[in-house]
């Protein structure tokens, strides 16, 4: 288990290092610098700005400084919002995204497993067909389109829920639904297929033959073993929810991190893009790392086979 964790940690660290490096050099490769504007700044001001942001140093010194500051979790200033640092912006907007993401996470796990289990249990019956139809729709309809339609029908036409903004629980319902559709569908399909596989196993028959009730077999023997693929999907699910939230936050006017990311892309706020990319990557890699460990812990076959 220790070697398994160590190995996963090495991958995570290397990947993160690669991202940080690529981000740095991509940002350096952009022609011009953050202070290139249509109306040129006076040379003295430009000079002092360069000195302030340490842009006069040779690239390897800048790169070294950048690595050191990232090790200190300092993502630097924002060039477009001069008074604020990237860290401050993350601190103020990340909780909003985290709440939205958690809601979507909980909803998709509970809904997905329920739908998948129902479908596997009533295989080839209408419950199965409708659950799988729903799932294939969830995979096929992009989140931004689902968001727009939810907004149009539930908020604009039927006037049941607020159109946008953030603050009350009612305002979180539509974005959560839009965000969790894809992972829900994925989990439902995963649960269904792995449950069907488990249900065909001999030990299920044995358990039934020994007189255990259908429900008890389902709960204790089938569900536990068929949730393994779902655990392995959790890592990429966190990635889906995080990146999916970029657009959902934009559509629903939610003051979260995704909205900032999109804005910084639109404003070409390079330090901000860089900082947020690094932050998102850390978050993602860390959660994938955790899921890997969890998976190795839950399923001993994994950690044996990757040794």
């Amino acid at each position: 288990m220790i070697t398994f964790i160590g190995k996963r940690f090495c991958y995570t660290f290397l990947a993160l290092f690669l991202i940080v490096t690529v981000t740095f050099f991509l940002m350096k490769a952009i022609p011009g610098d953050p202070f290139t504007q249509e109306k040129a700044l006076p040379p003295e001001i430009l000079e002092s700005l360069y000195a302030y942001y340490k842009l006069n140093d040779p690239w390897y010194v800048q790169y070294g400084n950048y690595l050191v500051s990232i090790l200190h979790l300092d993502l630097g200033p924002s060039f477009a919002y001069k008074a604020r640092t990237v860290n401050e912006i993350i601190a103020s907007s990340f909780p909003v995204s985290a709440l939205l993401g958690l809601e979507a996470l909980v909803l998709s796990i509970s809904m997905g497993i329920t739908l998948g289990a129902l479908a596997a249990f009533k295989q080839h019956r209408w419950q199965d067909c409708s659950a799988m139809l729903l799932a294939v729709m969830g995979i096929s309809v992009p989140s931004f389109i689902l968001a727009a339609f939810l907004q149009y029908f539930f908020a604009i036409k039927l006037d049941l829920l607020p159109v946008a903004r953030w603050g009350t629980f009612q305002q979180t319902i539509l974005p959560t639904l839009a965000l969790s559709a894809l992972p829900t569908a994925f989990i439902a399909r995963l649960t269904r297929s792995s449950m069907l596989e488990v249900l065909a196993c001999d030990y299920i028959k044995t358990a039934r033959a020994k007189g255990l009730s259908y429900f008890s077999v389902l709960l204790h023997h089938t569900l536990r073993n068929s949730l393994l693929p779902v655990v392995s999907y959790l890592g990429s699910m966190v990635a889906n929810i995080l990146t999916g939230s970029f657009i959902i936050e934009k559509i629903f006017g939610i003051p979260g991190l995704g909205g900032w990311f999109i804005n910084s892309v639109a404003n070409r706020d390079y330090t901000m893009i860089m900082g947020l990319t690094v932050f998102y990557s850390m978050l993602l890699l860390f959660s994938v790392f955790l899921v890997d460990i969890l998976y190795g812990w839950v399923d001993p076959r994994i950690r044996v086979s990757t040794k």
Binding site: A15, V136, V265
Partner: protein, 307 residues
């Protein structure tokens, strides 16, 4: 006691009972014919296939059906609802949405298929080399793939688009940057499994060279999973293109893409819903068709599911 002699008259040939048993009653089917028959028997997958054929026809023929071009503006007839003259209505610059949707179909299908083909080429090469060389080279190639796989894909794509610039080819490059990895893994896994099978050993014993074994035995047998992976890569690529275009990082005006059209339509959702409705429907239906076909192919190509 007289000695018994085994005289020929003691032996009488039995009448052949099942003389016809060796005869083939049905025409022998090749693997792909069998797959095709099973795919045709799957009604949902056939629906997906027909939908895709219709979409291709729509993309190819559509622009010739309408008398408008995708970039022709007409400010007098802006935001015109769907009518006999403008089948899908017009947008805020009075451009015909039907023609634009056709062009969007061309772009989406082109991006999806090109990305899938490039993914396949790189993936087969990488995975194939890893599986055939084995040992240290395999370890090295797969560890590189592992580390690259950990990088959150959408973030890299967004970063790359910000730096390299927007357009069709940057999108394809960005899509294939990390897309080939899962293909390489699938190919490697398949080849490693196949390599151990008896008929490969037989081929080696009969003196076939490496190249012949790869061409004649390994690749054709690994084709199933490769094709399945491709059918699922295409909708992902189409979604990512739409997503990037939605964020303003994709295809630039006046060229039409479903993503940009949906993004434009979203801003006018309350008053001119058809501007979002048509591109949104087309994105969803295309992804749905590819997913249905992919599901059907996966079932049809799996010999274990054969009845």
């Amino acid at each position: 006691m007289s000695e018994e002699i085994l005289a020929p008259e003691f032996f009488k040939p039995l009448e052949r009972e099942n003389a016809a048993a060796d005869q083939l009653r049905r025409r022998p089917l090749s693997f792909w014919q069998d797959v095709w028959i099973r795919l045709r028997r799957n009604r949902i997958a056939t629906c997906g296939l027909y939908l895709l054929i219709t979409l291709f026809l729509f993309a190819l023929v559509g622009p010739f059906l309408s008398s408008h071009s995708y970039h022709e503006t007409n400010l007098v007839l802006k935001n015109h609802p769907p009518s006999l003259r403008f089948w899908f209505g017009t947008d805020d610059l009075g451009r015909d949405l039907f023609t634009r949707t056709c062009w969007g179909a061309r772009i989406s299908l082109f991006v999806g298929i090109t990305a899938a083909l490039v993914d396949m080429a790189i993936g087969v090469l990488w995975g194939g080399v890893a599986a055939l060389l084995g040992g240290k080279a395999d370890q090295l190639l797969m560890r590189v793939a592992d580390i690259l796989y950990a990088i959150p894909y959408l973030l890299v794509v967004i970063m790359l688009m910000v730096v390299v610039g927007t357009g069709l080819f940057p999108i394809i490059i960005a899509l294939t940057l990390t897309g080939w990895i899962s293909m390489a893994r699938i190919v490697r896994g398949q080849l490693l499994q196949l390599k151990e099978l008896e008929y490969i050993q037989a081929a080696i014993a009969l003196g076939s060279g490496k190249a012949r074994i790869l061409r004649k035995h390994l690749l054709p047998n690994a084709m199933g999973p490769i094709i399945i992976a491709m059918t699922f890569t295409i909708p992902t690529a189409i979604f990512t293109e739409a997503f990037l275009s939605f964020l303003g990082l994709g295809v630039q005006a006046p060229m039409a893409s479903w993503g940009t059209m949906a993004s434009d339509g979203l801003s006018a959702l309350r008053y001119y819903p058809w501007r979002l409705f048509f591109p949104a429907c087309f994105i969803s239906v295309t992804m749905l068709a590819f997913n249905l076909l992919g599901d059907g192919l996966r079932d049809a190509l799996d010999p274990r599911l054969r009845k």
